[in-house]
Symmetry: C2
Subunit: 508 residues, 2 copies
């Protein structure tokens, strides 16, 4: 029995599904904006644990913290959203009182490029920073698809070495484990845009927009399968809804070459030699193979084996700014939704090498590589998989049993807090029964009751709510165990903290 | 000698002071928007330590975490900014694609009121939540005055008890100590709007807007002194710039009464009896005195003495939504600015009882009380006072001495990371000298150098950069100690971690 209060806005439906029922037009309706949600303790526990764990990994690798503002000037932000079909949409923008357009960041990479360009002269180089925080996308919300979510990134700016890519991959792999993903339940997939560029050059693709169309087509391999992607590589594809997506316009032979390349098996050493054969001849493709070979060597010395990171030619990443290696973290956890149906979580993060973002500002090419965890997404996946045991425990509740003893109750709560145990005195206006119900709904481990008898005897009565909840889950005949009042004990006041500790330890 | 890279945007000037010098009109200029700043490791260390410490206090008191979105519908947010002279400004607002106006939250209280109203039926009551995060104000930026800053709040919604106020005050006092403010260097000042309302009723103030004008006038006591406030209570005041602020329009006798009230000494028991005399007769004033008496009793049982919290009749808080007790945390730390001039920090947080915010939505009055820390402000104050010793330490840097040994260098860095020591292999393209400089600028405790000799002998050379920096600060004849190469030792490879630990411990 889950006694936490059910918050409708956490059920995965967008908040606006709950609208209506407004009665007084003079009063505003209490609702969060479309596509934005409130998150309570149990949601935040998983997310905060991930941020703590991943940040610790980043710091151990020598990355320093940076926080840039929520806003950037729109021109500095650029238009690098994955869905660039609507290039002027996707961000929340407004005009400042000096008429300049500002927009909320849609990721943490664009602000980093701006920061690095702005401070390049004085930064230690390579500049290695990590960052986390909300990003905003002005998109149509849907189930599980919000317009505000949390990312956690690490980037190295100013190193062209493939080892810098390898390190980013190693951190991502280590971050997943630190975040609570069991060994073997996630995999980092690596590819290189240089290979793809080489392939496309030899397939006769020269034009940048055609190249991007090919990349976007391959990026849909997971969702549409080879047949769907074949259509998108060629003339185009009509989806179930009747909407037509224009294709990249490759001829059939070129499309087959691209598909054959992406179908090469995923692995490490063996995949590399296969790719080498598939690309052989194109200078950029050869460079891509050499990069991946160097990444492979560095991954080995970093202790990242093929069980945690593999080369996968089907990974391309939708963003147009990548210039070399690209990475994607895929969650293999078998999770089920509320109805018990299997959920494929897929990607929980990605990144790659982007050597031109700083040059947008300075004109000087600055090599850079990085990775971004979709923290909200990873937290949701781990929660769904039951991998985050972090329950939002409530405080011990000292029952306001006798109004004339409030000062004593505060002293009792203070004693527990001093011992590091979260505790509170009930401060509502309700009676005993409602107070016990309150403690239960807060998931309190225990309630402390002290009345005249206890004060006279120098004792306190401790009700073990953890045990009560456990029993109520396991025992069908509620009335029976309730009658026995299990888990309630009157102990000397001096034993209060040890008694509570025993309950907490038993529940841990 | 501070070897961290000087980041211009951290110097306290708004970022736009650095503009100009744009050379290529086809390229965007790299700059953060007006009034928004980037924060690097050393800034974040203080802020994150405060958030950790204060959150821990809130959790110990039984408050649960809540995060609401950055956006609220504008009508839900309401207009409760302290500076309500421009009631339609102050927030960053934009129109959603369904034409509804959304605005970024300007504090954490208004979103809580919306959340509580939306979920009231299903929440455990009283609902006790804490929250932290950025808030945004669309105001004119200035030195040290930003348009995005971090707050950290705790609120109890659904308890009319003065004990709930006392608990909020106790947490604020405890939070200050936990955040690193030395005992005695901060004080919580408490007052009650009911006292002020009682006073104003007896002074003939009936109209709400006149009442608000009186409150705003008294709120400026700190800045303008009694003479300035007297003008604002009366006809109005002409400031140095020649701008005229319209006054509250009290007659001279009423203005004197208000001033006399605010001048009653600040303390606990004695102040209460003085206030009681000053107000005596007005029912609302008497109620205010009774509330403060109950707060006093609860504070005593919570262990908060007059050294940490006092009643001060001059505290009113500018916000119009307060209905009862009001609190303000004042920092007494003597700090100096970059030029060594004394800086008065004043308020680092405030709050109070607001019983009508939830009723805005539901029509039902819900008693509530809370406190908000200005985290960015408190962090700045503690840094300025040198009270936050949290330097942003860099990682141990493994020098990329011999390119053919990169794999070994990664293994060495991995060994340190596994021991919990932040470490990295230098991944730039520069030579030894630049690499050592890089390590120094990162504030690395040590650099590790391994060349052919060391590989052959099974050793590593460790350079103690902490010691080097200490010497360079204390020794004027740099050349002399440089010649002796102090703090450089070649040790067996197996002793690497212990050697680094010794350096870290010495620097701690």
């Amino acid at each position: 029995m889950d006694l936490t209060s059910p918050n409708p806005s956490l059920s995965g439906e967008p908040a606006d599904a709950k609208r209506g029922g407004m009665t007084d037009p003079s009063r505003p309706e209490a609702r969060s904006p479309r596509g934005f949600i409130d998150r309570r303790a149990r949601d935040l526990a998983a997310e905060r644990a991930i941020l703590r764990a991943v940040s610790a990994v980043y710091e151990r690798y020598g990355f320093e913290a940076l926080e840039t503002p929520a806003f950037e000037y729109a021109d500095a932000l650029g238009k690098f959203l994955p869905d660039a079909d609507r290039p002027n949409e996707g961000v929340f923008a407004l005009q400042d009182d000096d008429e300049q357009w500002m927009a909320l960041r849609y990721d943490l990479t664009a602000p980093l490029a701006r920061f690095a360009a702005q401070n390049w002269e004085t930064l230690p180089k390579p500049f290695r920073r990590y960052a986390f925080g909300p990003v905003w996308r002005n998109e149509k919300p849907g189930p599980g698809r919000y317009r505000e979510f949390v990312q956690c990134d690490a980037d190295t700016v100013g190193s062209a070495r493939p080892e810098a890519d390898a390190e980013i991959i190693a951190m991502a792999a280590e971050g997943l484990v630190a975040a609570g993903v069991p060994d073997g339940a996630a995999i980092l997939k690596i590819n290189s845009r240089k290979l793809l560029n080489g392939l496309m050059a030899s397939a006769g693709v020269a034009d940048e927009s055609q190249k991007l169309a090919v990349l976007r087509a391959v990026d849909k391999l997971d969702r549409l399968g080879p047949d769907g992607v074949r259509l998108l590589l060629g003339e185009g594809r009509l989806d179930e809804s009747g909407a037509f997506t224009k294709g990249a316009g490759l001829n059939a032979a070129a499309a087959e070459r691209v598909l054959a390349f992406t179908a090469a098996g995923a692995g490490r050493g063996e995949t590399l030699s296969q790719l080498s054969n598939a690309i052989g001849g194109s200078p950029e493709g050869d460079e891509g193979v050499r990069d991946l070979e160097a990444i492979d060597r560095a991954l080995i010395s970093l202790g990242v084996g093929p069980d945690r990171a593999i080369f996968d030619p089907s990974v391309v990443r939708g963003l147009e700014y990548y210039t070399g290696a690209v990475f994607e973290a895929e969650l293999l956890l078998g999770t089920t939704d509320e109805k018990g149906l299997p959920v494929r979580f897929g990607s929980v993060g990605g990144g790659g090498r982007y050597d031109d973002l700083v040059a947008r500002f300075t004109g000087e090419r600055v090599p850079a590589t990085g990775f971004s965890f979709g923290v909200s997404r990873l937290a949701a996946a781990l929660r769904a998989a039951g991998r985050q045991g972090l329950e939002a425990r409530g405080p011990v509740v000292v029952i306001a049993f006798d109004q004339s003893h409030m000062a004593d109750y505060f002293a009792i709560a203070g004693e527990m807090r001093a011992a590091g145990i979260p505790a509170e005195v009930y401060l509502g206006a309700s009676g005993m029964k409602a107070q016990m119900k309150y403690a239960d709904r807060r998931l309190s481990p225990a309630a402390v009751i002290v009345g005249e008898d206890e004060f006279a005897a120098g004792t306190v009565t401790v009700k073990d709510l953890d045990l009560g909840r456990a029993l109520s889950r396991g025992v069908t005949d509620n009335a029976a165990w309730r009658a026995e009042r299990p888990g309630q004990a009157t102990v000397p006041r001096a034993d209060l903290v040890t008694t509570i500790r025993a309950i907490l330890d038993a529940g841990a």
